[in-house]
């Protein structure tokens, strides 16, 4: 009997703390998981940086969507460091520009409605990528 295939995407948000966009990325990660609970494995950058076995296994097993908050693109760095090309990358500034969602005046310790609009937009954009990646995986398996 053929083994049942599992089509999932590992989502790696940078989950930083230093900048306002860190909060946007972190909250988008939870939202993405809530929007696609059966397709998303949400990775912790903290665990992956020290190669925690469970996280490393998920990272290696599934295609990875990387979400970078700020310019050093630390989640992308982590992917490169671990030797895996991501299936897709998102950068918060790109989504903010595309959707014309400025977040000046927001605070990293907690977002208002203005900041949450960018969280929503980022999550929606991520889900588009997740659906595309899974469709690609499914069609490639036929």
């Amino acid at each position: 009997m053929a083994q049942e295939q599992e089509f999932k995407v590992a989502v790696l948000p940078c989950n930083g703390i230093g900048r306002l966009v860190s909060t946007v990325v972190r909250l988008a990660g939870y939202k993405i998981r809530a929007m696609r609970p059966d397709q998303v494995v949400l990775l912790s950058s903290g665990r992956l940086a020290v190669k925690e076995p469970e996280h490393l296994a998920a990272f290696e097993r599934y295609p990875v969507l990387v979400i970078d908050g700020c310019r050093p693109r630390c989640a992308s760095f982590m992917c490169d460091e671990l030797g895996k090309a991501p299936a897709a990358r998102l950068y918060v500034a790109d989504v903010a520009a595309q959707r014309r969602l400025p977040i000046a005046g927001e605070k990293r310790r907690g977002l208002t409605e203005k900041g949450r609009r960018l969280v929503d937009a980022l999550a929606e954009r991520a889900v588009e990528e997740i659906d595309r990646i899974i469709a690609d995986e499914m069609l490639s398996a036929l």
Binding site: G16, I17, L27, G29, S45, C74
Partner: protein, 132 residues
Amino acid sequence: MAEKVCLQPCLGLRKEAVLARQALYVVHEDMMPDQTVLGCGPALNANVQEDVDFIALYPVLSVEACELDCAAKLIQKKGERAARTLRIPELVRELGVSIEALPEEHIDTDDPAVQAVAARIAEHARELLSQP
């Protein structure tokens, strides 16, 4: 004596990590802005100079959400050692804070649990500052 303390959270996804993150904003922004720096794990891992400097220049207080101690391990990965490690599960037990009662993904910094954890972290940071 050290000039500042580097606060280095694990930045995990679980509730304890969110509590730590929010408490560290309170410590760094409200309680000890001139005596602490906030270390960003993914930036440190990516060798962002500011974060590399933080752990080289200042004693590091790692704040962990669980027994995996990912923040302390990351500091070791970068060739330094945490001066002290605090684990949120132990801290909340001492403080009588109920983790179960806290929201999952975001905790307001005004929440009494965040304030209590922040005060305790600040005590540890001050102790590190007072050490020769």
